[in-house]
């Protein structure tokens, strides 16, 4: 899933200082699972904004809505009839949701309420870690299903570097060395001999390096 983290409330207050009718818009997908932008967090943020407005003596109306998704037009259409009541939206969806909402409602400012961080997994409640950077050409078949692009700080294709110590990365003793994990996994699969195969230069044209990307599936288009 896409993992996001809450923005400091002061930053959000700063965006909203000139607005009087605000919609706090949540998303019921990834950001709900990582507890950054679901219905619960919409409620918490809306309450905090109301308290701040009251303390400052400002008359501000703040409504709460959480959509099934903000990355699909069908769900974004659910606020079409009410959007004109608001002079600002704070979207607690990922960056995709913020942008897609803005694209549908061209004349309404839409502010981000979270920082979109990475594609990752839930290790446990309150701990999410990165697994994928969406480079567009998956090499997991050759690296024991552990991604050096996302998980090695130097994205080495032929690692580990000389900084790997006790299974940890040179940048931080709390970060696993991806190549230690790869080697452990290749060993467990009895495929350590594959370690010595040279990994060729990567074609980054399917990565962000190639510009904004799209997936086109004519077979499923209507």
């Amino acid at each position: 899933m896409i993992v996001a983290d809450r923005k400091p409330i002061e930053e959000i207050i700063g965006y909203l200082k000139d607005h009087k009718n605000i919609l706090v818009l949540g998303c019921n997908e990834c950001v709900t699972v990582c507890e950054a932008g679901g219905k619960k967090e919409v409620g918490v943020l809306a309450s905090a904004l109301r308290m701040h407005a009251k303390k400052e003596g400002n008359e501000v109306k703040i409504d709460e809505v959480t959509l099934e998704r903000q990355c699909d037009r069908e769900y974004l259409d659910e606020i079409r009839d009410s959007i004109d009541q608001y002079d600002a939206v704070v979207s607690l969806a990922c960056g995709v949701g913020v942008q897609f909402t803005a694209e549908q409602y061209h004349s309404t400012p839409v502010y981000p309420g979270v920082n979109t961080c990475f594609m990752g997994a839930t290790e446990k409640r309150g701990l999410w870690t990165e697994r994928c950077q969406g480079c567009g050409q998956c090499i997991l078949a050759t690296t024991g299903s552990i991604c050096p692009v996302a998980r090695c700080a130097k994205r080495l294709f032929n690692g580990p570097c000389g900084g790997s110590t006790d299974g940890k990365c040179e940048i931080n003793a709390e970060v696993d060395c991806a190549w230690q994990l790869i080697i452990d996994r290749l060993k467990a699969l009895d495929r350590l001999d594959e370690y010595e195969k040279l990994c060729p230069l990567k074609d980054w044209s399917t990565d962000r390096a190639g510009g904004p990307r799209k997936v086109v599936r004519e077979d499923v288009q209507q």
Partner: protein, 310 residues
């Protein structure tokens, strides 16, 4: 082994001499006097001088310019190049620029992570890794082509090196990793600083068992300790560094004013022991901001005078 490039370092190694290289860190500014001074200090005692490429990610005068300075003094530079800061366009371009000044040695590295340096908020590149950089230089030199496939007008005549750290984890792949660098085309290796000689010799045994010492020249890396503080810092703070407690105890055992001398002594003894290690083709003496000590170490270790080659 026959030579493939005009590199003086390659000639010395191919004639079977123990090579001696050293290293200069470029200045943190545009004042090139430091480089000239450091070069002058060590030029008669080493065969080639590495110029670091923004080591520990602290921004410095560029390796290429400093190498050109040394070349203009008639010295033999080793261009260190990290994949952290340059994509494949910039790497190839800098290789050609260096080759145009007849810089005939390159050391291919991935580089310390930028979080250690003065631009921790900067982006890193890592378009290719250090092993792929070895392949890239060999491709340009041997095939006479760019990575993109076009013909080069003038091939870079570079002797291709890389680093090896026998002390990083996991230890079991440290010999296979060297084999991988050899498969990529590396011709000489400069190792991480050796303090744990037993572990280094164990690694070298693994290297010999696979006959890898006959496919690459291995220069053992050495850095003299200036003080107990430095030894402790290297033991605790420098990733991938193996400083045994005995080194610290030995430095502690002498009074503060004599610790630097003791550090030099340890360094010389290490060289003398490693001279006997089959497969060690030379020494890379990295006296960090202590270049003036290199001549003394080289002489005391019996590595002076340096051989002359044509």
């Amino acid at each position: 082994m026959t030579t493939k490039t005009p590199s003086k370092l390659e000639k010395i190694l191919s004639e079977g001499h123990l090579a001696v290289t050293s290293e200069c860190g470029p200045p943190r500014g545009s004042n090139s006097e430091h480089i000239i001074k450091k070069g002058e200090l060590i030029k008669d005692h080493v065969d080639a001088i590495n110029i670091a490429d923004n080591q520990t990610s602290m921004t410095r005068l560029c390796s290429l310019a400093a190498c050109i300075r040394l070349k203009l003094m008639g010295l033999e530079p080793v261009l260190q190049m990290v994949t952290r800061d340059r994509n494949r366009i910039a790497l190839q371009s800098d290789i050609l620029g260096a080759a145009s000044f007849e810089i005939n040695n390159i050391l291919c590295l991935s580089g310390d992570h930028q979080s250690f340096g003065d631009c921790a908020q900067g982006q890193n590149v890592h378009d290719i890794d250090s092993i792929q950089l070895i392949q890239a230089v060999r491709h340009m030199r041997d095939e006479g082509k760019f990575l993109g496939g076009d013909d080069l007008d003038g091939k870079p005549q570079m002797f291709v090196g890389a680093a090896a750290n026998p002390f990083a984890d996991p230890f079991e792949i440290r010999v296979p990793r060297l084999a991988k660098k050899i498969a990529a085309g590396v011709e000489f290796i400069q190792t991480q600083c050796v303090y744990n000689l037993d572990k280094f010799e164990e690694w070298m045994k693994g290297v010999r068992d696979r006959g890898l010492h006959e496919k690459v020249y291995i220069l053992a890396g050495l850095t003299p300790m200036k003080s107990v503080g430095m030894a402790k810092y290297m033991q605790k703070r420098v990733p991938g560094m193996d400083v045994p407690d005995e080194i610290i105890e030995r430095l502690k055992g002498v009074e503060k004013g004599k610790q630097a001398d003791e550090g030099i002594k340890i360094c010389i003894e290490s060289i003398q022991r490693l001279k006997e290690c089959e497969g060690v083709a030379g020494f890379h003496i990295m006296a960090i901001e202590w270049e003036e000590k290199v001549p003394e170490i080289v002489e005391a270790a019996g590595l002076y005078p340096r051989p002359t080659v044509n």
